[in-house]
Structures are given as C-alpha cells and as structure tokens.
C-alpha cells in the first residue's frame, strides 16, 4: 500500500455568517490559505448558522474560519458550535474567528470552543502558522 498516505491536504471553510456584507477580509484569507496550499471552500455572503454547519460537516473541514464584523458573534458563533456538536463534528474542527471582537467577548468565545480570535491587522502568516500548528489530526 505504498500509494497511501501522501495526499493529506488541509481543508478550510471560510464562512461569512449573518447580516454582514463585508467580505474583503474573508476573500484575502481565502486567497492566502489557497496560496499556502490549503483547500478552501468559501461559503459566500449572508449565511445562516445552519448553512455553515451543513457545509462544515459535509466537507469535513479541518478548519472553520468564521468572519464576523457585524457584532453578532455572541449570538451566531454559539449556534454554529451547537450545530457542529449535534452532528458530532465539533471535536476535530479547528474553529477560528476573524473580525472586530471586543476583548471580553474573546475570552467567552474561546471558552465555548473557538481556538483563536484574529483581529484587524493580524498578519496572514500568523494565521497560516496557527492553522498549521493546531490543525487536528483526524482519525
């Protein structure tokens, strides 16, 4: 079986959720991830938490990057996390949040299961590095 085991590629879902039409950041991240050799699925704008969950489960992504600039992260992110748990896909998905998130909320999000929150001005390399180091080993 020597043909096995050399095809591993990191799969990411870059998601825009809720009523927030600012997708420049999501596009930049999607492109940077692609150039880093990742396989990127972009959700498109204005997605409901259910749709993000559906995509994350079916695509079996290693990384779920949620971009939120609307301020609704405290409502939307938990819904996504609950959905992932419902489909047994929470454990081995690395959940990242990008956007304008107040410090107090950051701690709360992390407690719920978000691995890291990246604010404005984060270097792309830093995000990519974080993904490489923390991507869960799927069994």
């Amino acid at each position: 079986m020597s043909a096995d085991g050399k095809q591993r590629s990191i799969r990411c879902l870059v998601a825009k959720v809720g009523l927030d039409g600012h997708d420049r950041g999501a596009h930049v991240i999607a492109r940077a991830f692609r150039d880093a050799g990742f396989e990127v699925i972009y959700s498109g704008l204005h997605k409901a938490p259910d749709e993000i969950v559906q995509a994350a489960v079916q695509e079996d992504v290693d990384v779920l990057g949620i971009s939120i600039l609307s301020g609704a992260h405290n409502t939307l992110v938990p819904k996504i996390i609950d959905g992932l748990k419902e489909y047994d896909a929470f454990e081995d998905t690395l959940i990242l949040v990008g956007g304008v998130i107040p410090d107090d909320d950051k701690a709360e999000l992390k407690q719920q299961g978000v691995a890291e929150v990246f604010g404005p001005g984060t270097e792309l390399e830093k995000t990519i590095e974080f993904v490489r180091e923390n991507v869960p080993e799927k069994r």
Binding site: Q7, R8, S9, A36, E39, V40, I41, D50, K138
Partner: protein
Amino acid sequence: MTTAETTLVEELLAGKHQALARVITKIENRTPGYREIVSQLYEHTGNAEVIGITGSPGAGKSTLVDKMAKTYRDRGDTVGVVAIDPSSPFSGGAVLGDRIRMASNVGDMDVFFRSMSARGNLGGLSTATADAVKALDAFGKDHIIVETVGAGQNEIDIVRAADTVAVLVPPSSGDGVQMLKAGILEIGDVFVVNKADLDGADRTVQELREMIEMSGGSMTVGGGHHGFDTVEVDVGEEAEEWTPSVVETVATDGEGVENLLETLADHHGYMARTGELERKARGRIANEIRTLLRDDAAGIASDELDRRGGIESFVDRVQAGETNPYDIADDVLGDLRECVEGGGR
C-alpha cells in the same frame, strides 16, 4: 480492519452524515485503511443513479446541479453531489467554489454536497471520485451527480464512468461546439444548452442537433428528432439505440430542469432496458481492477527502486553513459517478473 474503521462503516450505513464525510476524506487522502473501508462498502452499492455533468467553466454547471438537486428533493429523493475543482499545480492549494451555488438546498442535509480538488495527482482523481460515489451510494443516496470541468483525459474518464453523461454548452459558443466534436460529443448522452434565454441559444441548439445527426447516421432513430426537448425512442424496435438529445435550460430560474430530469431518466431507462447499464458497470469494474493493479504494481516497483538506491542514482548512471532507462526497468522488474512467471506463489 481496526475497530475505528468498522465503527465508521457502521455509522455511515446507519446514516450518520459526519461518518460519510469522514469516509470521503479518508478516500481523498488515501489514509491507511481507506481500502478496507471501501471494500466493506462495496456490497452496499449499486442502487444509485449516477449522472456526470461536464462543461466549460462558467457554463452554469453548479447552478444547474443545485436546481436538479432541489427538484429531486421535491420528489422526495435524496441526492449526493461530488463537485471537482482544479487545484494550483504550484501550491497544491485550491478554492473550491461550486458549493456557493448550492443556494436552493441550504440547510437540507439530505443533499450531501462535497467539493473535491483535483490535487494534481496522477490518475488518483478518478479512483478517488469513483470511491466517493460508492460511499454516497452505500449511504443510500438515490441520485448522485458528479460535476467537473472535463478538461483533460482524467476528468473525461471521471464523467464517463457515470451511467448518464450530460454536457453543458453555453449559447453562442460556435467555436466551443466545434471543439466538442473532438472529444466531448462522443461522451454526451444529453446535451444541455444552459442560459437558453440568451441570444444565440437557438442557434447553438441547432448546431448541436446537426452535429449529432452527422456524427452517427446509424444513431438516428426513426427519421430525425423534431420533438423540441425530448428524444424519440422507439421502444418496439429490436436494436434500440440512444440518440443524444438536446435540452434547453435556464438554471438560474429552474426553467427546463424538470424536462432535463425526464430526459436523464429516459436515458437511464434505456440503459436498463437494453442491458447497457450492466455493460457499463462491467466496464467500470474492469477499469477499477486495472487501475488498482497498476497503482499497486507501480508502488511495488517504486519501493524496489528505493531499495536499490533511489531514482536519482539511476539517473546519474544513465547520464554517465553506463546504462539506459530500458535496461534499468528490465533490471528492477526482473526479480518481480521472475517471481510471477516462475510460479513463486
């Protein structure tokens, strides 16, 4: 087979979405153990109708697939989709953009949509796709749609493996239609002129019809086909033949999709009646066996090469004028051949 894999197969067969997703990941990554999983699933396959959809970028494949899936769902059927997108030959990365068009089926878990990147691997893509289709089949999907740009032999092989192949042709693609003559015309069971509301659609339909007629005098059934959107198949005839039909759709608003599904079902019926379905399945299995053997044998040869000092050392020797690639191949495979031919079992 480890217990984890057995559990995964059981969960997939029980209808757990995450298990299906994980199995496809293992198939794509060729994770050790994936072969055992596919082997286990094999006996549960053979019930789905598999449709291959191909066409140039921007022809509207994903949008059409979305509407097809929705229409199947409205009838109470379940759907699986495998959408293949190219990957960068440099970084290996990819943006898989087909999912974004699946707007009609969001939140409906009974449409299982999976994006796959071509990953630039040699021939592995057709194996991976065929195995992913098996996983969806074993999961119990009624219809499975495989969507790909169809550029290159690899991707053409993928759609050809489907029971029914639909080729999308955008309007006013005169040159495109010319190109079709070369390869894609032969694989299309149904031609779909999508964006049929645009100028030039009628002409494209006309051109396609002419080409179909020209391509096979023997293929035409009962003196041409003037039925606008359907094909006339004479069921009573002894040697029933399928004339590729031309269907018009406007995927963005779902126009013509019902009709397309009817035509696809007609083709499937024809395949079943005439034994073509069986014949195609046999061909598919034969191909699978050949591909696996070729891959495995190549793996053994490559291991042997490594044991003998690696490919670079052989290149050095050829460059130094000591030997040539043919002698090396004979030499490296010599023991293997002896083992097989000499009855060393």
